[in-house]
Each structure stands twice: as C-alpha cells, then as structure tokens.
C-alpha cells in the first residue's frame, strides 16, 4: 500500500499560516516576476480564477472581490515544505518527495496497521505541528494513491483521507474519476479514450490488455496495470542526479542595456555553478539564451541561444560565468531589441569524480577550487552571495518584480513575525 500526501493549496496555505486573518478569504500567489496565478485558495477557485491567468488581466477581478495577492516567496515555501516532509518521514521513513508539496510514502511493510487510522493521524499531526493542511490518498499503487488523494479532496473533504482498501472502494473511486484526471494521461490520450467511449478510470481498467497495448503504447499499459492494482512505477527514494541545470528569469523590466543583461547572466551562471558544487557535479557545456517579449507585437522580435563546450568539465563560478558571458557577447544584438528573458543552462552534468582532464588544459585549478570552497563557506555562514564575482554586482538592476512579497518569517531573523500584544 502506498500513500500520496499532498498539501492543500500549498503556497496559499503558507501565506495564511502567518496571516490568519486571510482564512476564509480569497488568496492567490503569483509566479516569478508577478506574472501569472500559480496558486489559489479554495475561495479564489470559487471566484473562477484560473491557474496561469496573467495577473495584469485579472486586476479588476482581484480588486472587486478583495482577493489578497502575493508574490511567490519560495524561501518561505521551501522551509515549510521541508518541515512537512520531515514530519512525514518521522512516521514512515520510506518516502519519495515528489514535488515541493507532494510525497509518496511506502506503507507496504505495515501489515498490521490500520492504515486509515494512520492516515488520519498523519494528517492531524502535520496540520497541528507545521500548520499546513494536507490530504492523503492510500491505495495499492502510486497511480491509485494519487487518485485516492484527489478523491479525498473532492468527496471526503472533512476527513481529508481516503483509503482505497478493497475492490469496492477502488471501483467507487475509479468510476468517479474522469479519464482526463488520471495521473499521467496526456490530453491526446484522453481525447483518444473519449472518442472510443471510454470516459472514466473504471472504463480504462476494464479494457482488454491487447487494446491498451495497441492504442496506448507501453506507457499506457503501465498505467493500466497501476489502475488494476499492480504496482508498475518505480520508486525513486533518492532523487536522480539532474542531467541539466537551468537558471533563468524574466528581467524585472524590458531592457536593451547590455550591462544589465550581463549582470543578470552572471548571476544566473553563478547560481548554476553553486547548484553544481552543492551536489558534487560538474558540467561539460554551458548554454546562454536571451529573448525579447513575444507578446509585445509592436516591438522587434529576437531570440537566440548558444552552447559552448567546456575545455574541462567544471563547476567553478569563475569559469561558468566566463563561458556564459562569452556566449552572450556572440548572441547579443543591440539597439532596438528589448529583452525580456535571459538564462543559463549547464549541460551534460556528471559527478565531479568522473572528470577527464584535457591534455592541453594548462589551467591550474587547485587555487580556483580552494577559492570556490572558501567562497561557499563564507556565503553559507554570512548569507547568500556575500562574496561574489565583480560582474555580478550588488545593485541587482535586473531584479524581478515582487510587489506583494511576504516576509521570510522562518529563515531571516529580521523578518520574523511581529505580534502586537
């Protein structure tokens, strides 16, 4: 038996924890640079606010309904997510963190435990200890657990837990779930299924295996097995090493200023280098990309990217910034182009221990590596980016818009919750 635990409206719930006067009020959280709606409280959903709606298009709706708007505060969400996950792992150590607000628990070894009771206890503990409401679905496979979680939210909101314990309960849930809402079904397959008169997950589970193999490929067959209670999706207890790492942001405002874009690219490159060092990896190629705003039809459009191979695989800030800026110099076009977005991707990431040294590489890296280590140590102690490369600058001219940012209540001593007593 597997459980999927999912935080309800996670980002909105994080904001409410420190502003309880927003309970029962519509709350939305916007993406980076205050772009689109990426999280909604139930009240905001009820107003018909749709995920991904650009914020500027909804301003009137927000004002009229007194919707509370937040910029995304990933520092806060990250800390609360870690608290939730660690609380869960104290119940069941076999856990796969699936996303910032979801985790699978492997309950297969708990033969004698009443899993419904356990689910209710886990839910109660997370709500009390961390303050984030969660829903729990328990079922024989990951796909069914995901479905049970959704079913719990829709049908058993007050309990918040659904345990698909036997065939009757599983069938009840399958019959309730439309094909579009099955985990892992893309839009194309959903259309195909509908055209064949297959409307619910129950219909899918009842299909003959030959039909599934013929029409839905191997992936479909795996899902079909999962729906029939046969676990077919691997467990990833340790997240796999990433192949590529991307850091990109919109610029706070459109810009044709080379110096500002250079500053942004340097910072993105430095962030990539730090991510690599933190996981003990190096990259073999660096990609830079820039693009104008395609929605501004009256502007001239341009977007370009370039990949540079590294002479020797690296994770040094200095070198990755070097490659990135070299690339930027090549692709950057001046004058009438107003850039909206730029970013750095590092490719072909491998473990640091597997580096092959280039025969013609004459750089002595020992010194640079020591420097990087010292920088990381100081930055760990004194705060992110205390020491940085000069090109990164300190004024952050490319800074994102974040007009509705809440405080970093749990990670910054100067921003802790202040209470009038």
């Amino acid at each position: 038996m597997y459980a999927l635990i999912d935080c309800n409206n996670f980002y909105a719930s994080c904001e409410r924890l420190f502003q309880p006067k927003l309970n029962h009020k519509p709350v939305v959280v916007l993406s980076n640079n205050d772009g689109c709606v990426i999280a909604r409280s139930d009240e905001a959903k009820a107003l018909g606010i749709v995920m991904g709606t650009p914020a500027y298009m909804s301003e009137d709706l927000f004002k009229k309904n007194d919707v509370h708007v937040f910029s995304s505060n990933y520092t806060l969400y990250g800390d609360l997510s870690e608290r939730v996950m660690k609380t869960l792992s104290e119940f069941i150590p076999k856990m796969e963190v699936y996303s910032i607000d979801e985790a699978f628990l492997d309950m297969s070894e708990l033969y004698y435990t009443d899993l419904l009771e356990l689910g209710i206890k886990i839910r109660k503990t997370v709500i009390q200890n961390v303050g984030i409401p969660v829903s729990i679905g328990i079922a024989p496979t990951k796909t069914l657990a995901k479905m049970a979680n959704r079913y719990a939210k829709k049908k058993y909101k007050d309990v918040g837990v659904f345990y698909a314990a036997d065939e009757r309960l599983i069938n009840e849930m399958l019959a309730f779930t439309e094909v579009e809402d099955i985990w892992g079904i893309g839009r194309q397959y959903a259309v195909l299924l509908r055209n064949n008169g297959i409307n619910t997950a129950k219909d899918v589970a009842d299909l003959p295996p030959d039909w599934v193999r013929r029409n839905l490929s191997v992936v479909g067959l795996r899902m079909w097995n999962e729906l029939r209670g046969v676990p077919s999706i691997e467990w990833e207890f340790v997240p796999g090493r990433k192949k590529n790492i991307c850091t990109s942001r919109s610029l706070g405002s459109l810009s044709n200023n080379y110096s500002i874009i250079k500053e942004a690219i340097s910072n993105h490159a430095a962030r990539c280098a730090l991510k690599l060092r933190n996981e003990g990896s190096v990259c073999q190629a660096v990609n830079v990309f820039i693009s104008t705003n395609p929605h501004k039809v009256e502007h001239k459009q341009y977007s370009h990217s370039i990949t540079l191979q590294c002479e020797t695989a690296t994770n040094l800030t200095k070198e990755i910034i070097g490659y990135a800026l070299k690339g930027l110099q090549i692709i950057f076009k001046k004058n009438d182009y107003f850039y909206m977005k730029c970013g750095v991707i590092v490719y072909n990431v491998i473990p640091e221990t597997e580096v092959q040294i280039n025969m013609f590489d004459t750089t002595n890296r020992t010194k640079d590596k020591t420097l990087a280590k010292v920088m990381d140590k100081v930055n760990n102690l004194m705060g992110k980016d205390t020491i940085r490369m000069a090109v990164q600058r300190f004024d952050r001219r490319y800074k994102l818009r974040a007009e509705h940012l809440s405080k970093k209540y749990t990670t910054n001593i100067n921003e802790i919750l202040k209470v009038k007593i």
Binding site: P20, N129, V130, K418
Partner: protein, 141 residues
C-alpha cells in the same frame, strides 16, 4: 582490539601535538552546550516571533522579546500561548476549565478576555521560551 584503541585515540584529538604532552583533557572532551538543542525540543514545529506591546510584562515578556513557539504541544491551563482571536495574533496566558476559556494578560492595565462562541479562536502554538535583551526591560521597573 589494538586497532580499535588506536582509532579511538586519533578521533578524540582533532588537532596535532607535534611535541610535548598530550592534553589531559582530551579524554574528557564533550560537545559545547548548544542552545538550539536545549531550547528547541521539536525543531520542525518550532517558530520564532517578536513581541510589540506591554500586556505581558509581568510574565517577563517586555516589548521586543523574542518568543519560541512550539505548535506540537497541546495547550493546557496556565500556558502562555500565541493565539489567533478573530484573525489577529496575540500572546496571553491561557486559562481554561471544562466549560470556558479565557486569555489573561500579565499587566493590570489590560483586561481579561473571555472566549465566547461568536469569536473565532484558535491557539497557534505554545510559548516555550522567552528571549530578552536586558536593555529592553526598563519598562518593567
């Protein structure tokens, strides 16, 4: 057996003594006191807040006091709690019996609050420590 002894001996010194006598304290070394461990029993459910106002001065909570709040503790009669009353945070003593519940300030200038059914009331967490800077305590004189 000999091997194990050597290993232990090395791990208790993390600095080298090139000459002279080894420190007689080495075998008795213990971890220095860590206030995080002492004050925070449940790190996952503990939060830090700062107070403004004087309603709790006689409970040694002057303005600017920092409070550790543990959400995992079930509040009982007599605890100092961070409560949410009609959407607003406050810190007070919690007094309760089987029928009723009050928020009690620790300053005579403030009134007790009896919790009624019309009020929306929850306890956010229980105060487990008060951290004050002596310079902020003058108002308590």
């Amino acid at each position: 057996m000999k091997e194990i002894l050597t290993e232990t001996a090395i791990s208790s010194f993390d600095f080298k003594v090139p000459a002279g006598f080894p420190s007689p304290a080495a075998d008795y070394s213990e971890e220095r006191i860590d206030l995080n461990k002492t004050l925070i029993k449940h790190p996952l459910s503990t939060f830090l807040i700062e107070c403004e106002g004087t309603s709790m001065v006689n409970a040694f909570i002057p303005p600017k006091a920092k409070l550790l709040i543990d959400r995992s503790i079930t509040p009982k009669n007599g605890d100092i709690v961070l409560a949410v009353l009609n959407g607003e945070f406050t810190v007070k003593y919690l007094k309760k019996n089987d029928f009723k519940c009050w928020l009690i300030p620790a300053n005579k200038k403030y009134k007790e609050i009896e919790i009624t059914q019309e009020m929306e009331f929850t306890v956010w967490g229980v105060v487990t420590s008060v951290i004050i800077n002596p310079n902020d305590t003058k108002c308590m004189l």
